[in-house]
């Protein structure tokens, strides 16, 4: 186990960063350090991720925007968020506990169903954490991992986290660029770098992490998919034949895996990613979001404003009519009849038959 990050250490490292960046501007607050601005237009501004916490809908988006609705989207309240960074994903393993991640390497946590959030980690801390973890650790490639982390730090800035997934109220993962992977088993109080537990020699970006009942998958650049292998406790390659980026994946309740990405790419595997078959929505638009519903139904959304429903475990899809299409970036099921869609123009609820 890693030592718990001490508050004082965090402050010290921030001051260090602040002082090295101070040459360019007199007064500048990095978005990872200041609260999100108050806004009344959150529900109609670009939102990247959504989740349902009990009966509450939570959506996250640009500039630290997190909004929630307790009346099925009729009204929205802006949550109290300690960062102004662009948030890209949110996950609620239980009605009260949730996590959101985004640029600046921020990991936010809420224990009140999404109304108030605290920062558990940011990119500066994550980098320090990774360095400290691998320096002097016994993992096989420790020296290389330290070198990689130093190179990233030297490049300036932070590395974003691009997805978050919690298997339980305590155990979860955040993933990001350049093979970035952190795991917690204590609800985010401490985070452990897991970069040594991936078969990712090319340091590809991880774009999503999803699982179901013990299975766990990552998608990333160049058609890559990784499956978590319990025996070796590693993410092993389960790559598709595709060469482009896979934005995300869905694991259905029949354990079928659907990986999707740019230019309408869609790949289906019913053997945990050992073999893939190409599926199609018949669109060249990027597929940006997907959820598995009960009974083998799957929903996928595209950047061109299409929502597609499969009733046969992801073999075939039919378009679902929505009231006002927009470029969709993600979705979450509210109940059997309604879904929450987020995208370029905010959040909308649509019903599905």
């Amino acid at each position: 186990m890693l030592p718990i990050i001490k508050k004082a250490g965090v402050v010290a490292s921030l001051l260090l960063i602040a002082s090295t960046q101070a040459g360019t501007a007199l007064a500048f607050d990095n978005p990872i350090n200041i609260p999100a601005a108050q806004s009344k237009i959150g529900a109609t501004s670009a939102l990247l991720g959504s989740a349902v916490a009990g009966t509450r809908i939570v959506a996250v988006g640009l500039r630290g925007m997190i909004i929630y609705s307790d009346d099925a989207g009729a009204s929205w309240t802006q949550a109290r968020v300690p960062v102004g960074s662009d948030l890209v994903a949110v996950n609620f393993p239980s009605p009260k506990l949730g996590w959101a991640v985004g640029h600046g390497g921020v990991v936010l946590h809420s224990s009140d169903g999404g109304a108030t959030w605290t920062k558990q980690l940011d990119g500066v801390q994550a980098a320090e954490l990774a360095l400290r973890h691998f320096q002097g650790s016994g993992v096989p490639d420790a020296a290389m991992l330290v070198e990689r982390e130093k190179n990233l730090q030297a490049g300036g800035g932070t590395q974003p986290f691009l997805d978050v997934y919690f298997e339980s109220e305590t155990t979860g993962f955040v993933v990001g660029t350049f093979n970035r992977l952190f795991r917690t088993t204590d609800g985010g109080k401490t985070w452990t770098p897991w970069m040594d537990r991936t078969d990712n020699p090319g340091e590809l970006h991880f774009y999503s992490i999803r699982g179901r009942a013990g299975s766990l998958y990552l998608t990333g650049e160049q058609g890559a998919v990784w499956r978590f292998d319990k025996a070796s406790q590693r993410f092993v390659q389960a790559a598709t034949p595709y060469k482009g980026t896979l934005f995300g994946l869905v694991v259905t309740d029949k354990d079928t895996v659907l990986a999707f990405g740019m230019r309408g790419s869609l790949y289906r595997s019913d053997d945990q990613g050992r073999s893939w078959e190409k599926a199609s929505l018949g669109t060249p638009a990027g597929i940006t979001g997907g959820v598995a519903l009960n009974g083998g139904n799957v929903l996928l959304t595209t950047q061109a404003g299409a929502v597609n429903l499969s009733r046969d475990d992801g073999k075939t899809f039919q378009p679902v009519k929505t009231s006002r299409p927009m470029a969709y970036f993600g979705l979450a099921p509210l109940d059997d009849k309604r879904i929450v869609l987020v995208g370029a123009e905010g959040v909308r609820l649509e019903s599905i038959q």
Partner: protein, 819 residues
């Protein structure tokens, strides 16, 4: 001079040989004893100025309508060259009324129009954008990397297949909403303009506008027109304004015709009507000639001046005529009559003209070049009138004379009126207002009107209230085109821009882009802001594009390397969201309207952000864009409106105090003007006219010229009272002697400006309506309220054995003096 002396001097002399040429003032002798020389001199000057008119230019400069010393405008002007997105450009939209744009016929027409526009003078050809220009490209991220090409397929041949390719490319290029309408029924040609054409001359907006109209006429008119064409843009607007100005110039003929009719009705003498007209026209030629000689041109504001000069000239000329008519009617020789008239009226005319000049001069306090030029050219015009209508006119009269029949008629009319017959009945009716009952009614009614007006005027708005280009009428072709384009392309024409200024090459820093993004977000919260856009959005979208279009990368990364790549792309794709030095980023806020409240809110939000976020190296400068200019203008106009009222009333009060030497008389003279000012504001509320650059001169002119009536009426009335007449008698005489003149002045001034109500230029129409109202209402106010107020304030002015001042006496027609 006392009365008896004066009477001796103005004896009826039928033969000029009996007239003592050495009588009269030095000025009079100088003029009339050298009248041939004077006429010759005026002829030479007139010819010179008429010759100068060749160089007359008509322009509509927006720069001159800017309040130059306001910090927003200073900021804007300093950075204007760098603000490419807000620069000069024209947008031409070609619509297929019978279907969508994917039609071979439509596309063939579009291609022809595109080619014709491409070769127009002043077009920055390299950056002209349409679906037919090679700079418009589609780019797509594929598994292999970027691919792309021009939107118009290289093998385009109008076949169904190549049209289908075009359709796909349009989708891939993301030009829907910018170059292709949201409903696919029209497409746009964006035409950036050069600041100087190939020969180094400034681009001629009027020529460009005409060329575009010519294209519109050839392709989009007639029953079998294949397309509809819509044109908007700064150059087109300027062209339309110049067209409007030329139309307004033709109104001059109508105004002149109306004035001619009025004056003929007044004199019933062709000779003298012609002469008054002639002298007033000479004044206009001189005034315009002076404008050209000083290197100015006519603009939508200064075109007011010839109309006013002409109208004022006519009314003063008519008074001269009035005097001469009566003298000639009594048998006095025309030369002697002319000299008598000069003697009687020169000083009064001078005073009235000086009062008008005060109205103009006060305009100088407004720091807006068009208004200052208006003030200057108007002052020149008034100065010219002193020569042409107070000096040249009587001299010419001394040669030409008047028709004897008209002269006799005039004399009879005059005595009829004094005896209360004919028109005199109407004037006599006004006498009742000196009595307690009528005076009370008049004053109570005015008070009620004033209170209502005051209450209504609280809704008076600052700035322009209609949608579209406020310079033109809401239903003008330009504004219809603007509405069409706004509706189909999702672009608001009301843009408020904040300029983010950094040292060179610093616009790209994560800090600056983050702050820029924060400002855009801050402004987006303001009610009335539809959308904001800045370089931060460009960087966000390009970054996502660089990551296979993944929406999770719609961000400004804190990794400078990622930003730099996008800034490089923005530079090479000629983004309008940064300058070439990377030292200026405009943050654009598209507004739902340009109402003052909306602008105030945006200004407050932007100012607050700037105050909190400005650093030594990063400044947030207000304000550019049409709404930035509107906001600054509103601020200046709001202040100027108050200052203006203060100054104009102060000067009018001073002028009245000098003339009347009685504070009570000042109150009597000024209160009707105040009522008019209040009612004019209420009228503005009712007509939906806001306080703006164009209405400022109206306030000053309305009061400055409006006081003329009071000067005429009250000075005679007071003179009569001081001669010992009771208030009732004094006013009766005053109305009889000057009522006609007051009415004449009101009507001719109104006739001079009412034609403007039909101007295609909105603010001119507003000015015309308001001035007409003020000139007429001031006249009514003077005729009704002066006696009513006098009843309560000036009864005590009646004294025995008072000696009139020359100015007072000068206003007296012969009849009164003989009384």
């Amino acid at each position: 001079m006392d009365l008896s002396h004066n009477q001796q001097q103005m004896a009826v002399i039928s033969d000029p040989k009996d007239f003592d040429e050495r009588s009269g003032s030095l000025l009079e002798r100088l003029i009339f004893n050298n009248r041939a020389l004077l006429v010759l001199g005026c002829l030479v000057i007139t010819l010179f100025f008429a010759f100068q008119l060749r160089g007359m230019t008509v322009n509509a400069s927006f720069d001159k309508m800017l309040p130059h010393s306001h910090p927003y405008i200073t900021n804007y002007l300093e950075n204007r060259e760098q603000l490419r997105g807000l620069g000069d450009s024209v947008r031409v939209v070609i619509e297929n009324p019978k279907g969508d744009i994917f039609n071979a016929d439509y596309l063939a027409t579009l291609a022809k129009i595109n080619d014709e526009i491409f070769i127009l003078k002043g077009v920055d050809r390299a950056w002209m954008k349409s679906i037919f220009t090679p700079v418009v490209r589609w780019v797509e991220v594929t598994e292999e990397g970027f691919t792309g090409g021009p939107v118009l397929p290289n093998d385009y041949d109008g076949s169904a297949k190549s049209i289908e390719d075009l359709r796909i490319n349009i989708g891939r290029a993301g030009v829907v909403g910018s170059l292709v309408a949201n409903n696919y029924k029209s497409s746009m040609i964006q035409i950036p303009l050069l600041s100087k054409d190939g020969d180094g001359n400034a681009v001629n907006y009027h020529d460009l506008s005409k060329s575009l109209e010519d294209i519109r006429a050839r392709y989009a008119s007639g029953p079998d027109a294949k397309v509809n064409i819509y044109v908007i843009g700064f150059a087109k607007l300027a062209g339309d304004l110049i067209d409007g100005l030329q139309k307004v110039m033709t109104f001059f003929a109508i105004a002149a015709a109306i004035a001619t009719f009025i004056i003929y009705m007044f004199t019933r003498c062709v000779r003298s009507t012609g002469l008054v007209l002639f002298c007033s026209l000479v004044a206009v030629i001189w005034q315009l000639g002076l404008v050209v000689t000083f290197g100015y041109g006519l603009d939508p504001f200064s075109i007011l001046v010839p109309f006013l000069v002409f109208a004022i000239g006519i009314s003063h000329g008519a008074q001269k005529m009035n005097g001469i008519m009566q003298d000639v009617g009594r048998g006095t020789h025309k030369l002697v009559a002319a000299r008598y008239t000069f003697r009687r009226l020169f000083l009064a005319g001078l005073t009235a003209l000086l009062a008008d000049a005060v109205g103009f001069a006060v305009l100088m306090v407004i720091d807006i070049p068009v208004i200052r030029e208006l003030a200057m050219t108007a002052s020149l015009g008034v100065a010219v009138l002193i020569t042409t209508n107070l000096i040249l006119l009587p001299v010419l009269l001394s040669y030409v004379g008047v028709s004897p029949a008209a002269a006799k008629r005039s004399l009879k009319e005059e005595s009829d009126e004094i005896k209360g017959r004919g028109m005199g009945k109407l004037w006599a009716c006004l006498d009742h207002f000196t009595e307690r009952r009528w005076a009370t009614i008049a004053i109570v009614a005015s008070t009620v009107l004033g209170v209502i007006g005051f209450v209504v005027s609280h809704d008076l708005k600052i700035g322009d209230l209609d949608a579209g280009a406020p310079e033109l009428r809401p239903d003008s072709r330009y504004n219809q085109d603007n509405a069409f384009i706004t509706a189909n392309y999702g672009i608001s024409s009301d843009v408020f821009a904040v300029m983010v200024k950094t040292p060179p090459d610093s616009c790209r820093s994560f800090e600056t882009l983050t702050e820029t993004d924060r400002l855009a977000w801050h402004l987006a919260q303001v009610p009335g802001v539809q959308q904001t856009v800045s370089l931060a959005d460009t960087v966000r979208n390009y970054t996502a594009g660089g990551f296979e279009g993944n929406p999770k990368w719609i961000t400004v990364s804190d990794n400078q390397g990622l930003i730099d790549a996008q800034i490089g792309n923005a530079m090479s794709w000629n983004s309008e969201f940064l300058n070439t030095q990377c030292s200026l980023i405009p943050v654009l806020a598209f507004l739902s309207d340009h109402k003052a409240e909306t602008l105030d809110r945006v200004v407050a939000a932007a100012g607050e952000f700037a105050a909190q976020h400005d650093t030594k190296d990063r400044k947030f400068l207000l304000a550019a864009g049409s709404s930035g200019v509107d906001a600054a203008t509103n601020i200046v106009v709001r202040d100027a409106n108050r200052t203006m009222l203060l100054y104009v009333y102060a000067s009018v009060i001073l002028l009245c105090a000098i003339t009347f030497r009685s504070w009570r008389a000042v109150v009597v003279a000024v209160l009707p003007l105040v009522l008019t000012s209040v009612l004019a504001e209420a009228l503005m509320v009712k007509l939906g006219i806001g306080v703006k650059v164009a209405t400022l001169p109206v306030v000053a002119l309305g009061v400055g010229i409006g006081v003329d009536y009071a000067l005429y009426l009250l000075s005679v009335q007071l003179a009569q009272q001081r001669m010992g007449y009771s208030l009732g008698e004094a006013y009766q005489r005053s109305v009889a002697f000057t009522g006609k003149v007051v009415a004449l002045v009101g009507v001719t001034l109104a006739a001079g400006v009412i034609t403007w109500a039909w101007s295609p230029i909105k603010f001119q129409a507003d000015m015309g309506i308001l001035l007409t109202f003020m000139f007429l209402w001031n006249m009514l106010g003077a005729l009704i309220l002066i006696p009513a107020l006098s009843h309560f304030l000036l009864k005590g002015e009646t004294v025995k054995n008072h000696v009139m001042s020359p100015a007072e006496k000068a206003l007296m027609p012969e009849e009164a003096l003989q009384d």
